[in-house]
Amino acid sequence: MNAMLRNTWERVMAQRWLLPVLLVIGFGLAVAIPEYNLFNKYVQLVMMYVGINIILAVSLNLVNGYMGEFSLAHAGFMAVGAYTATLLTQKVLPVAAYPGLFPVAVLVGGLAAALLGLIVAVPSFKVRGDYLAIITLAFLMIVKSLIENIDAIGGPRGIPGIKRLTTLPWVFFWVVVSIWVVRNFVYSKYGRGVLSIREDEIASDLMTVNTRRVKFLAFMVSSLFAGVAGALFAHLLQFISPRVFDIIKTTDILIMVYLGGIASIGGSILGATVYTVLLELLRPSTVAALLSWLPAILFDPLNEHFIRHLGVWRMVIMPLALVLVMLYWPRGMMGLREFRWFIPKRDLDAQDRPVGYGGRHDAA
């Protein structure tokens, strides 16, 4: 059965023309779903969160997966994108008259985050591993307290009443752009540079790889899309405050990356989707509804002590899940493997290999 499934999967993945066809269908659906309310508003909302989380996971994977560092700053970059874009749509750009200007705000938000990404890249020249993780954590805290202390952007109270400009077609558009650009980057000399730094930085430098330049670029691309996701997030939630972009947010993204698998775009897409849907299923009302068939004698205490407090329990369950995934399932759903569709054809032709070796070019 398993072999048959795999066989079918490989045959589907070998049809490269399917990808553009699916893209067109996907975009059509992204337009049609909100237009004709094919799903209810709640499901549409979850779909948009899935999209935003895919952008976050794919971009973080570049640094934490492909480059093998452990950055905790992703929520900070997200915050920069969110605040920049929000200030633009509230104060600068006449988005009410021209909603078409929204992507400009998103892009500028991303560029602002990318600029900051350059600064975070600098300590990575000297420091690696645990120490770099601590520096990125410090950066996250600096961003948060800076925002808290600037009254002009709401300080700790945040910015309420943001226009809801994020729509399903726009989310779909940015998901495609982020995946396409990250994939292009990974399959270029810079992407191979990133991988060689993960493997052996000194050897990489001695094979003519300009490691500093490669690190600059990797951090820039990664934070650019974190900023884009932050901008989309702000205009969906319609409210941002420094508390939204704290270490919990970073933890969420980390879980998505490691659950999906490191150094894999396909993995990040799967990880973000599964995790986001799982979180929605774990909401008190959903869990209560799912377990309502239990006899009252069991259900009532469970509801009283656990289900109603799931919001708090989440802070216990999710970090625990991260620890467990990293300990017992370090490869995640498809770590170090990639959807055949994402691998450029000339790469596939040059080194066709069966599934399951462990190198980056394993195709699934």
Partner: protein
Amino acid sequence: MTLLEATKVKHFFGGLCAVADFNLDLRAGDLMGIIGPNGAGKTTIFNLITGVYRASEGSIRLRGIELVGKTPHQITALRVGRTFQNIRLFRDLSVLDNVRIAHYAQVRYSPLEALFHLGRYRREEERVIANSQRLLRIFKLDHLAGETAKNLPYGSQRRLEIARALAIDPELLLLDEPAAGMNPNEIDQLMEFIQWIRQEFKLTILLIEHQMKLVMGICERIKVLDFGETLAEGPPAAIQNDPKVLEAYLGEGPVG
């Protein structure tokens, strides 16, 4: 023509003098060997030439260009390739990727062209793949292009490391104990092989080696180091009979 020239190079690790007054004059086309007991500073010299360490004193010039102060990628991009004493492949990457990565400095496209796969991207990628496959064919590794480097047997890993160094398109090749872990038969093959790549790729080769058979067999000039100092330099025949060299390797002679 002098290709690589080192003058009065000194290097200290803290208070320890690892290299004392090292001089070298390597002409284009030379095949020179550096020998010496463990800890004599041989690998340190390779690390000084390639910029892994910055020489405490002295000057190292390649075609007249000062190398001291340059970073490893700047130096290797000046067409210097090297291998390592302990194999340092990119273990989890494919054989092909190992060779492709070393093309970094020769690939001419900008980050923007890379992000959007536009402009020169396609042509350059195809060129790199073709050249990598050519090198893998020469080293009889082409059928393993998709294999993960760490899964290769030891001998193939050694060959891959040389192929990767040649992907830089070097004029100067530094080989750090290429015969380590090889049996006499394999060493014979390696000697032929080094001579052959030297012709084929028009290389100047500087090699470190413990296997006297290889050093005496193929090197035209030999330099003997001990405790960071140059003991002797000359053709193999002269080195073999140099009393100072014998002393360093075999200990002092019998008294009387």
